[in-house]
């Protein structure tokens, strides 16, 4: 068989895994791979970001909207360490990624060679798996393993470090897709007894509540969730990452859980007699004080990752399985039922929340622009059909509250890690992953400055994302906490910002600025309808708070409306 170089074997392996888009940034130790890539540009598109962190967040955005494994390239040393934040983000939010890093030649390993870093050691706690290739013969096997591990079971990031000599040396290429590793069992065998136990509890419950997380989206169980909820009449609440798993307009949908979630689902968590958690992990931003969480409820936890079961909340019945498989097994054992009175209790809470908060935020009479008002208008203008990529902080919480998702896989955000700077690069990746859908990045004035260089990537590849800055010249969420819990001591949260419109001009991106409420509708329409990338700088009220709020460490019952 004709031999090829290790770097070409890598590219051919990626093609075998149906990879058609790579986000990356070249450098010394990965140059042979980039050289081989140059011969395969008819099969693989490469997006040159302006920072490795941009590349990995873009790969995350791409993966989250497409369901495919995101792939990124970086060189050794600083290139590799710049990936770490994104890898940690993908690990905690279960995003399948394969990151390829170049490494110094194997004979220089451990010598503090130029641009050497121990990326295997550094990434070990934040990857699902990692491996260093020092021999070209390993490339095909390891890459097939990497893809299998990244996407199966609870997905996660895999990092493969390849020394430069392995990239250069010759190898005969023979690719076989991995579908089994004896020490790795990503899809636990479902236990029928657990299904029956769970069904019995569900059939006897009076006030059950389904809590959905990203597991529904990852296992593509949206339809099964609907069948479950519609057959049993059980209301559904969603975590931050579960948003868009069920339409916000569905009659059984009762809202968004957590610290800045809706009033009803938070409050009713402690009135429910049964919590059915599916593909969610009881994050502390959802539970608040765990000793005062679900106090009247039995807990059924459907979860693919065994280490999540009983980690935070003790279960009565744990179903360790893929969400879709578990729901499909469960449905035949469930009685047809309805819970109208129980759902009406949520609607009563919705009314309270509307009167106390929402009405005041979206129907403002004065001439001031509130974040909630902006997002509500965008939600209406797009009919909740866009992919919304949010950053971290108030912009994220307001969007999660006010954007009424009507299509699945539409909410891309950094949930577990809370990575500021995530949205801009993730949005460009999302647009490439779903080019036919509208992608809107919603970012604060703080977060955008963490990865603002990616405007250049958006401009170079003419990626038609819409970028909305909610600009209050503050690190708004930290400022809100300072106001509420630190005596208004605004320690380092106010910012003198650059002129974002001149910056957008500099990058050749169409832009506009809204300061006047009367211009808001017109500007938002132009922003949404424009066929191309567009940055809209919306100057919002300087000191706006996001409510409701469950103060950190308190019970969900103590949700504050003001």
């Amino acid at each position: 068989m004709k031999e090829i170089t290790g770097s070409e074997a890598l590219i051919k392996s990626l093609i075998e895994e149906d990879v058609n888009t790579i986000f990356g940034y070249p450098g010394g130790a990965i140059m042979p791979i980039y050289d081989s890539l140059y011969s395969y540009l008819d099969k693989i598109k490469h997006i040159l970001t302006r920072h490795e962190q941009g590349a990995i967040h873009a790969a995350q955005g791409y993966s989250r909207v497409s369901g495919k494994v995101g792939v990124c390239f970086a060189t050794s040393g600083p290139g590799a360490t710049n990936l770490i934040t994104g890898i940690a983000d993908a690990q905690i939010d279960s995003t399948p990624l394969v990151c390829i890093t170049g490494q110094v030649p194997s004979q220089l390993l451990g010598t503090d060679a130029f641009q050497e870093s121990d990326v295997i050691g550094i990434s070990m706690p934040v990857t699902k798996w990692n491996y260093q290739i020092t021999n070209a013969n390993e490339i095909a096997d390891i890459i097939s393993r990497a893809f299998y591990i990244a996407k199966s079971g609870r997905p996660g990031p895999v990092l493969i470090d390849i020394t430069k000599d392995a990239q250069f040396s010759n190898v005969s290429f023979n690719y076989k897709k991995c579908d089994k590793i004896r020490s790795y069992h990503p899809y636990p065998i479902i236990k029928k007894t657990k299904i029956k136990e769970a069904a019995k509890i569900i059939n006897n419950s009076k006030k059950p509540l389904i809590l959905v997380g990203q597991g529904i989206l990852l296992s593509k169980a949206e339809n099964e969730l609907l069948q479950l909820s519609e057959k049993t009449g059980i209301p559904v609440a969603s975590t931050l990452l579960g948003l868009s798993a069920i339409s916000c307009h569905h009659k059984n949908y009762v809202g968004y859980l957590g610290m800045h979630g809706n009033y009803g689902p938070n409050l009713k968590t402690n009135e429910a007699d049964l919590l059915i958690a599916i593909g969610m992990r009881f994050d502390d931003r959802v539970t608040g004080d765990t000793t005062k969480y679900g106090i009247n409820a039995k807990v059924i936890h459907i979860e693919i990752d065994p280490s999540e079961i009983d980690k935070i909340i003790k279960t009565d019945v744990a179903i360790n399985a893929d969400a879709k498989e578990a729901i499909l097994n469960l449905i035949p054992h469930l009685k047809k039922n309805h819970h109208e009175n129980w759902i009406n209790e949520f609607r009563t809470c919705d009314k309270v929340e509307y009167e106390k908060i929402i009405d005041k935020e979206i129907n403002v009479v004065e001439d001031k622009i509130l974040m909630a008002d902006v997002i509500n208008r965008i939600s209406n203008l797009t009919k909740g059909k866009s992919i919304v990529v949010t950053d971290v902080g108030q912009n994220q919480m307001v969007t999660s509250r006010y954007y009424k998702f009507s299509e699945s896989n539409s909410n891309i955000t950094s949930g577990g890690l809370g990575t500021m700077g995530f949205a801009l690069p993730a949005s460009l990746g999302a647009k490439i992953g779903q080019p036919k859908r509208e992608v809107i990045a919603i970012i604060g004035d703080g977060g955008i400055q963490m990865t603002i260089q990616e405007l250049a990537t958006i401009s170079q590849y003419n990626i038609k994302v819409k970028i909305l800055i909610l600009n209050n010249n503050f690190l708004g969420m930290v400022r809100q906490w300072q106001e509420l819990f630190f005596d208004n001591r605004y320690s380092f949260t106010e910012m003198k910002n650059p002129n974002f419109n001149i910056i957008a001009d500099g990058y050749g991106i169409k832009n506009n600025k809204v300061e006047n409420k009367n211009d808001l509708d017109k500007c938002l329409k132009e922003f949404i309808n424009y066929d191309g990338s567009y940055l809209l700088n919306v100057v919002v009220e300087k000191e706006e708070n996001v409510f409701p709020m469950v103060p950190s460490g308190e019970s969900v019952s103590n949700i504050r409306l003001e």
Partner: protein, 197 residues
């Protein structure tokens, strides 16, 4: 014997106790680091650690002794089980395993000239043995529990200075009837590599 069994907490026991983790893994570089990272994250100190090959080629056994609450250590075991190259992690309390440690004691040879120390204490009472006698030093070896090897240490100290002392990590086997190769065969047969829908 169930692959990567899910340990569930029945009644959370907040008492700190000694636990032995027995982890069967593929023989791969870097695994020790992956495992200790998980213990470190929860600030669990390792009392003793032993890594060795097993009767099955390519399979290693980590035996780790830690002090922890049951609740915390169960979560740790579930995390270790998640590591890709871990075949199975098992958690044991003291009465569920056979275990031994080995200790070596280096003493000055002239101590042995003071009467019947060797016979009475070392051989009979403690079941220890003399590994090597040199002109200026003698090596004694004893296997047993940590308490047992410590007792001999204290006893020997009465006769003179102990020049050097080293104790190995614990090695342990479960009291259950089990065969590693059968465990591996079960793993290989399990159809949990693909989604079954």
């Amino acid at each position: 014997m169930k692959k990567k069994g899910l340990y569930q907490i029945k009644d959370p026991d907040k008492k700190v106790k000694e636990y032995t983790l027995s982890v069967l893994t593929e023989d791969k570089a870097g695994l020790l680091n992956s495992i200790t990272i998980i213990l470190n994250r929860r600030k669990i100190n390792i009392d003793s650690l032993n890594v060795s090959t097993t009767e099955v080629k390519g399979v290693s056994r980590f035996t780790i002794v830690v002090s922890s609450t049951k609740e915390k250590i169960i979560k740790v075991v579930n995390h270790i089980n998640k590591l890709i190259d871990v075949l199975g992690a098992f958690l044991y309390e003291e009465d569920e395993i056979y275990y031994q440690e080995i200790a070596l004691y280096k003493l000055s040879t002239k101590i042995f000239l003071k009467g019947d120390l060797v016979e009475k204490i070392i051989i009979r009472k403690y079941g220890a043995k003399i590994l090597k006698i040199e002109k200026d030093h003698t090596i004694i070896q004893k296997t047993g529990t940590k308490a047992g090897t410590q007792k001999l240490y204290d006893e020997l100290k009465k006769f003179g200075e102990i020049l050097e002392f080293a104790r190995s990590g614990r090695v342990a086997l479960s009291k259950k009837k089990r065969k590693t190769i059968n465990f591996l065969r079960t793993l290989e047969k399990t159809k949990s590599n693909k989604l079954n829908i």
